[in-house]
């Protein structure tokens, strides 16, 4: 039981954490929660199966093609569902526009791909330290993304520009930073991260059009719990969510595990509304 909780819990937690990071990366440059994050996760699994299993591409090429495709979907999201509603952010029209695009992607996938889950190919036929690929791959992907983002944000000009825009959009623009270009780049990056989440967890989640909802819902919980925009918080909250969800599967079982997850989520937000890693909002006087 413990083995199953840890293996499934860590793997799914890492996948949720990656989706949460995709949410955060898009949010940081646009102040928009794009609900296409779940669609990106779903596409990661479907594209991986399509490129590797059906088209016979080598695993690495299939992975790169998947990331490139999902990055393009990220860019399309920015152009189609985000840019047109940015001027009226306070009306939250992005909820409608990004959800609509997400549903379109899901329906298109259902029609063109399949309405039943399809197998995701095993890339490495041997276990790593006795652990099966489907369990270690999401965790490794998560570690690589965290490391990559740290390098990008701390040691590159473009990363610092991302941070500047996330910190103060208007000030960054006044300093001459290409806000629009950086926003498009952040959506491409988020697309690749979301796609990687689906690709890495494909062995567990399979290549299935209906994976959009679990990725969207369970991927958003670490965003809120880990404090909005905080990638480190998202990773910790994502892993905790995965472990708790799998433990709940064993302890309460069936559909009640979802109830348990959302109950704890609500209670946690009642206690710390700003998230586990956020500072309480300053009160204006």
């Amino acid at each position: 039981m413990i083995e199953s909780i840890i293996s499934y819990g860590l793997a799914m937690g890492a996948a949720y954490a990656l989706i949460a990071v995709a949410y955060n990366v898009m949010f940081s440059t646009s102040r928009v929660f794009s609900f296409t994050a779940g669609a990106l996760g779903m596409l990661g699994g479907v594209c991986g199966a399509l490129f590797i299993d059906r088209l016979g591409l080598p695993g690495v090429v299939g992975l790169l093609a998947t990331l490139a495709f999902c990055a393009v979907v990220g860019v399309v999201t920015e152009f189609v569902a985000v840019r047109p509603v940015l001027r009226s952010l306070d009306q939250h029209l992005y909820v409608l526009s990004t959800l609509a695009l997400c549903l379109m992607i899901q329906q298109f996938t259902a029609i063109e791909w399949s309405t039943v889950p399809q197998p995701f190919p095993q890339l490495i036929p041997v276990d790593l330290l006795g652990i099966r690929e489907r369990f270690w791959m999401p965790v490794v992907a998560c570690v690589l993304v965290v490391g990559g983002l740290e390098l990008l944000y701390r040691h590159s000009m473009i990363g610092r520009a991302f941070l500047a825009i996330a910190e103060d959009n208007f000030a960054a623009r006044a300093l001459g930073l290409p806000e629009r270009g950086l926003r498009v780049a952040s959506y491409a990056l988020a697309g690749a991260i979301g796609g990687l989440a689906g690709f890495a967890s494909g062995g567990i989640m399979l290549a299935f059009f209906a994976n959009v909802s679990p990725f969207n819902f369970y991927g958003f919980i670490p965003v809120a719990l880990g404090s909005i925009g905080n990638n480190r918080g998202a990773i910790v909250a994502g892993i905790a969510l995965g472990l708790f969800q799998q433990a709940a599967n064993f302890l309460v079982g069936g559909v009640f595990s979802s109830v348990a997850v959302f109950s704890v989520f609500i209670v946690a937000l009642l206690i710390v509304p700003q998230g586990l890693f956020g500072a309480p909002p300053a009160r204006r006087v």
Binding site: M1, S4, Y8, M12, A110, I111, S114, T115, V116, P117, Q118, P119, I204, M205, L206, F208, A210, N211, S213, P214, Q246, N249, F250, G253, G254, V255, S258
Partner: protein, 395 residues
């Protein structure tokens, strides 16, 4: 020969007269309009595509033989795309504008629930194949007839196999959290208890659950010696079979026809995980232990070889659709009319009508016409040519 004005005039009059007389002949042999509603595109279109091949074939065969009492069958098809709203629109159009004489379909429960009251209001004779129990009610819908098994008949066959053939005593019942799965689990548990069996574990699982090991471990701890599975989610079914194999639990899975889907096979980690899995099937579409289909079905397959594509569909969809068209044609032939009352009256008197799918019997009080003893269990991993092999233990 020169073309004169008078010649053209006489010629035109002749053509017009010929057209008029042909029109009268057509009116005398007004086609029998059969409404056919199914999902031909969209996510749930696989059954509809299979059914449709047979509907077209059956109508063409009848028409090629001169029709029914000299009247051709005109199939009016509407693609519902699996959407109840589209099915409702098509039903209203068929009943009020096209004025169909009878209707077959829709072929999924959600759409049928929505369209059955419409066809009842317009008194259109309606043939159903969906499993939902409460869809057929001769008092509420005297025009609606089902010539395929309902959920209760599936459950009866499954329970009979588990208790009387496998001789299992302690049962686990697992389904998915869809409306269908939840209802089926409830009904199955109640019927097992009524039959004196001990239900040691029952659960409703998220249809998209990634890990079903916790549920199977619980069922094993509870002492279950068989698992009744009620889910049409191929992903969930395959995950349960994988989990059963990984925990090394040697029990039979018995239940929903989706257990034998080719999509399940693709998701299994080992082919051996598909052993000891039995699904609900139909004697008419089941190979016996010698690999032979019933003679009536085999004769049909020989007849349609090269005419209906069978290798990518399910045989029961094909034979059921053939029966659907023939039931309408037969009712018009026997009653001599395509009026609503005539067709419904003919169906109400049907006794052991020899269909390809099964021998159908309707009475004014019973519009579920499929014989329960024709519902049998089959080996899940035995599919070929759209049919399965009979599960072991039957006489």
């Amino acid at each position: 020969m020169s073309l004169t004005r008078r010649g053209v005039l006489y010629g035109s009059l002749g053509v017009a007269a010929a057209g008029l007389s042909a029109g009268r002949a057509r009116a005398a042999g007004e086609p029998i309009r059969l409404g056919w509603l199914t999902a031909l595109t969209g996510p749930n279109s696989a059954p509809g595509i299979g059914f449709n091949r047979a509907v077209v074939y059956a109508a063409e065969k009848i028409n090629a033989a001169g029709g029914v009492n000299g009247r051709l069958i005109e199939v009016i098809t509407r693609d519902t795309q699996g959407d109840p709203a589209k099915a409702v629109n098509a039903a209203v159009e068929m009943a009020s504008n096209v004025k169909v004489h009878a209707v077959f379909g829709p072929t999924n429960s959600g759409e049928s629930l929505a369209t059955t009251p419409i066809f009842a209001r317009f008194k259109v004779p309606s043939l159903q194949v969906v499993q939902l129990d409460n869809l057929i009610d001769p008092e509420k819908y005297p025009n609606a007839f089902r010539f395929a098994p309902n959920n209760s008949q599936w459950d009866d066959a499954n329970r009979h196999y588990i208790l009387d053939i496998l001789k299992a005593k302690k049962i686990a019942v697992i389904g998915d959290n869809t409306g269908y799965g939840t209802t089926a689990v409830g009904v199955s548990v109640a019927n097992f208890k009524k039959a004196g069996a001990e239900v040691v574990y029952d659960a409703v699982i998220d249809a998209n659950a990634q890990d079903t090991t916790p549920n199977l471990l619980r069922a094993r701890s509870a002492g279950a010696d068989v698992v009744a599975v009620w889910s049409d989610s191929t992903g969930l079914n395959a995950r349960m079979m994988n989990a059963r194999g990984q925990i090394g639990w040697d029990v039979a899975f018995c239940g929903h026809p989706a257990l034998g889907s080719g999509d399940v096979a693709r998701l299994l980690e080992k082919p051996a995980y598909w052993e000891k899995v039995y699904l609900v099937g139909y004697r008419s579409c089941t190979f016996d232990a010698n690999g032979k289909l019933p003679a009536r079905t085999q004769a049909f397959i020989d007849e349609v070889k090269g005419k209906i594509q069978l290798n990518d569909t399910t045989l029961y969809w094909i034979v059921a659709a053939i029966d659907g068209v023939n039931l309408v044609a037969d009712a018009v032939a026997k009653s001599g009319s395509s009026d609503s009352e005539a067709i419904i009256g003919a169906w109400n008197k049907l006794t052991k009508w020899p269909g390809l799918f099964g021998d159908i019997t309707f009475t004014p009080q019973q519009h579920n016409g499929y014989p329960t003893d024709e519902v049998v269990m089959s080996l899940a991993n035995s599919a070929h040519d759209g049919a399965f092999t009979l599960a072991p233990g039957y006489a």
